[in-house]
């Protein structure tokens, strides 16, 4: 029966490429193999986001007068609505955390080396899209915290030199955060970003398949043992996904994502308003920069600094290798450690202070 079905399908679609992939794809087995799982976890969490996001869309209404009420309806009246929304929110945060871990694992195993520059670039763009996913999704419940956090976020964007005000106006759909902002953020969150992300994920995975899994430079690729991707590695990855699912379920059941109070544009901003944790390091840095540094405005200088740092980081595959294509391991590891330490320390400081 199975063979019959496979034959029927094979006559209509050329499955040789898939069969080839299943039979021959391997994963190197060494001390850093565990870091390979993080790409898969990121993909798994993104799939969770897509599924829960679609379910939420069945009830969510993206208008200022109905957004908050519809989310409250989901949380209180819809069967398992609380679970879907809590998993969506927790999964979004875990996804960004895991994406960062995945990025730094690539840095510390120097997997960005030629010919994997495009894999790195697509990955970095995907991380940026994830951050934008988080930023746009945060506003959608239209509660007090999200409203003012979006105000703070778009204010920061507005202070960027030259194009800042235009970006802020584009994001807000006007001079301030309001009904047009919610409509725009909804469109970004459910149409534009998912389409862009799925296309890039497809490209990212295709590049990974084409170039194979990278082996750290301190190992000789030919002498490293290989594990079959199907079923050996895939089953292990499946175990990790199940663990992630258990963690998500536990977080959603024990700490359901709170709804807060409905946004009121006339109310004063809640005390200690700050953005989501993944923007805290930048936010805290901007707070520390004096209002004027020499003849420059401190905030503009800070944003320029972040822009330069981001650009420097995007082109890592080009400055992180020598002419022969070998990793400048010490330099890149040093910069990676510095960046990871900065992000971790300033995120904690931004949260505590």
């Amino acid at each position: 029966m199975r063979a019959k079905a496979a034959n029927w399908l094979g006559e209509r679609i050329d499955l040789n490429a898939v069969r080839e992939l299943i039979e021959h794809k391997t994963v190197p087995v060494h001390s850093a193999t565990r870091w390979y799982y993080f790409g898969g976890i990121t993909l798994f969490l993104f799939a969770i986001q897509v599924i829960t996001g679609i379910l939420l869309m069945l009830y969510y209404r993206p208008t200022v007068s109905e957004a908050f009420e519809s989310v409250r309806f989901i949380m209180t009246r819809v069967e398992f609505g609380w679970l879907i929304r809590s998993i969506h929110s927790w999964s979004a945060n875990l996804l960004i955390f895991v994406a960062f871990v995945h990025m730094f694992s690539v840095v510390f195993t120097h997997a960005y080396r030629p010919p994997r520059e495009l894999t790195w670039l697509t990955g970095i763009v995907l991380l940026g899209l994830m951050l934008f996913f988080g930023f746009s999704g945060y506003l959608l419940p239209w509660n007090q915290i999200s409203y003012f956090a979006t105000k703070v976020g778009t204010d920061v964007a507005a202070s960027a030199p030259l194009i800042g005000p235009a970006i802020a106006r584009f994001l807000r759909g006007g001079e301030d955060v309001g009904a047009p902002t919610l409509t725009r953020f909804f469109a970004f969150h459910v149409i534009i970003l998912p389409l862009a992300t799925m296309a890039l994920i497809a490209l990212h995975i295709l590049l990974v398949q084409q170039n194979g899994m990278s082996t750290p430079p301190w190992l000789t690729a030919s002498s490293v043992r290989q594990m079959r991707f199907f079923p050996n590695f895939f089953l292990r990855e499946l175990m990790v996904w199940y663990c992630a699912l258990a963690v998500l379920g536990a977080l959603a059941a024990i700490f359901p994502w709170e709804l807060g109070e409905k946004a009121d544009s006339f109310a004063s901003a809640p005390a200690g308003i700050r953005p989501e944790w993944y923007f805290l390091a930048q936010f805290y840095t901007l707070k520390l920069i004096p209002s004027h540094v020499w003849v420059f405005e401190g905030e503009i200088l800070g944003i320029l600094g972040f822009g330069l740092l981001a650009a420097f980081w995007v082109v890592l595959p080009f400055w992180g290798v020598d002419r022969a294509g070998a990793a400048r391991a010490r330099l890149v590891t040093g910069v990676g450690v510095l960046l990871a330490s900065y992000l971790a320390t300033f995120t904690v400081l931004g949260y505590v202070k």
């Binding site: 409250r72 690729a221 594990m227 089953l235 379920g249």
Partner: protein, 424 residues
């Protein structure tokens, strides 16, 4: 071409003229004197009149531009020295009762203070020759008179009670009038003091809110309810139509609201005022009489609703602490509290039937929110149970996958790597 130097001398009279308008020899001398004579010169810097461009001679007369004390304090130039106490209200009224003059400085300010003062107990006694009573300077201070809205002014709402108490708590001063001196002590234990001084609510009643300021007079029996009703409008309306109104109005020693709530020391009303050993109702209604029974019933209703709402609130808070979404029930609980307020208000009609409606509505809400909070707590337990079951299933699945991996790898000699395809 340079202007001739002689023109500079033409400017000298202008300087002299300018000096003449701002010169104040009173301050020049008094600021270097000692003790009491120096005090006005120091205080006047903070005076609202100084800020408006007035000077010593505007009240005391004399010539402030004269360097000679004999000239500056010359009675022929209107110098009156320290005004007689009895003359102070009239002296202040020269400007403060003159709308044309006041319009230059404070167009919105009233100009009837002196007229009101004359109708007050203070004004009447002063007119009859009693200089012991309050005049303008006793409340507003002298030489450092500040605007009422200035927080440092003695008549600023937050400071007014202490200002009145300065005289009214002085037993010696009040002895000859035979009026008590415990008003301030009582007021300090009242809900109004709490609102004014503890919460800093400037709209909370101070002495002047009930007694008036310039026309200060104690409210009489017939006007007490009207005075309290200025703020407690609905309470006063119900009371005016109640069975108690004619009875209380006829009572001696102050009627109206005072009968139950007292005057200066008004405490937070509780149901102990209705029923129990300290019940104010028992002053007239003996235990066991229909009136006392109705009061006890009202107390029971209010206590019942209050405790039902509090219980519901505490269970809701527990559910909220566990992260359950109970905001709708919390809003609904607010409606329940509103009904409690309505019931307390309806009490002032002294008709149980009027109280029944808000009490029943409030109880229905309390039960509804209690059910919602209990459901939320039950839901929390169900979620955790569901989590535990899911984790067990996930654990079993992970274990099954692990066994499967072991079985596969024991067969395909994965460990030796012999069966693995060569790397690309």
């Amino acid at each position: 071409m340079r202007p001739p130097v002689i023109f500079l001398f033409l400017l000298v009279p202008l300087f002299l003229l300018a000096e003449g308008t701002t010169k104040n020899t009173c301050l020049d001398c008094h600021s270097v004197l000692d003790g009491r004579a120096q005090r006005p010169a120091l205080l006047v810097k903070n005076d609202v009149h100084t800020a408006s461009g007035l000077s010593c001679s505007d009240c005391h007369g004399g010539d402030r531009t004269s360097d000679d004390p004999g000239g500056s304090m010359n009675p022929a130039k209107g110098f009156i020295g320290k005004p007689a106490r009895k003359a102070i209200p009239k002296l202040c009224a020269r400007c403060h009762s003159n709308p044309d003059f006041m319009r230059k400085f404070r167009p919105q300010q009233r100009v009837d203070q002196y007229e009101l003062y004359q109708t007050s107990i203070h004004g009447k006694r002063l007119a009859s020759g009693d200089e012991n009573v309050a005049t303008c300077i006793d409340c507003h201070s002298v030489h450092d008179i500040r605007a009422v809205k200035d927080p440092a002014a003695p008549v600023y709402p937050l400071r007014l009670p202490e200002t009145c108490a300065h005289c009214h708590s002085d037993r010696q001063k009040m002895a000859k009038y035979g009026i008590p001196t415990n008003q301030f002590d009582e007021y300090r234990n009242s809900v109004h003091w709490n609102a004014l001084k503890i919460r800093g609510d400037l709209s909370a009643p101070n002495c002047a809110s009930c007694h008036g300021n310039h026309g200060a007079k104690p409210p009489q029996v017939e006007s007490v309810a009207a005075v309290c009703g200025n703020c407690h409008v609905l309470f006063a309306q119900l009371y005016q139509k109640s069975v108690h109104e004619p009875i209380f109005s006829a009572a001696s020693g102050g009627g109206g609201c005072i009968v139950c709530h007292s005057n200066h020391g008004i405490r937070q009303p509780t149901t102990a005022m209705l029923d129990g050993p300290k019940a104010v109702c028992s002053q007239c209604h003996d235990p066991g009489t229909p009136g006392a029974n109705v009061a006890a019933q009202m107390a029971k209703w209010i206590d019942g609703l209050d405790s039902a709402l509090k219980h519901s609130e505490s269970v809701l808070a527990r559910a909220d602490k566990y992260g359950m979404e109970v905001s709708e029930a919390q809003v609904r609980l607010g409606d329940g509290r509103e009904n409690l307020v309505k019931a307390r208000l309806a009490l002032h009609s002294f008709e149980p039937e009027q109280m029944k409606k808000p009490i029943e509505a409030g109880m229905a809400i309390a039960n509804e929110t209690l059910r919602a909070s209990q459901d939320a707590l039950h839901e929390k337990d169900v979620r955790r149970m569901g989590l535990a079951v899911s984790v067990i299933f996930i654990g079993i699945t992970i274990l099954a996958i692990w066994v499967l991996i072991r079985r596969i790898e024991s067969n395909d000699a994965y460990r030796s790597g012999a069966n693995a395809p060569a790397p690309k």
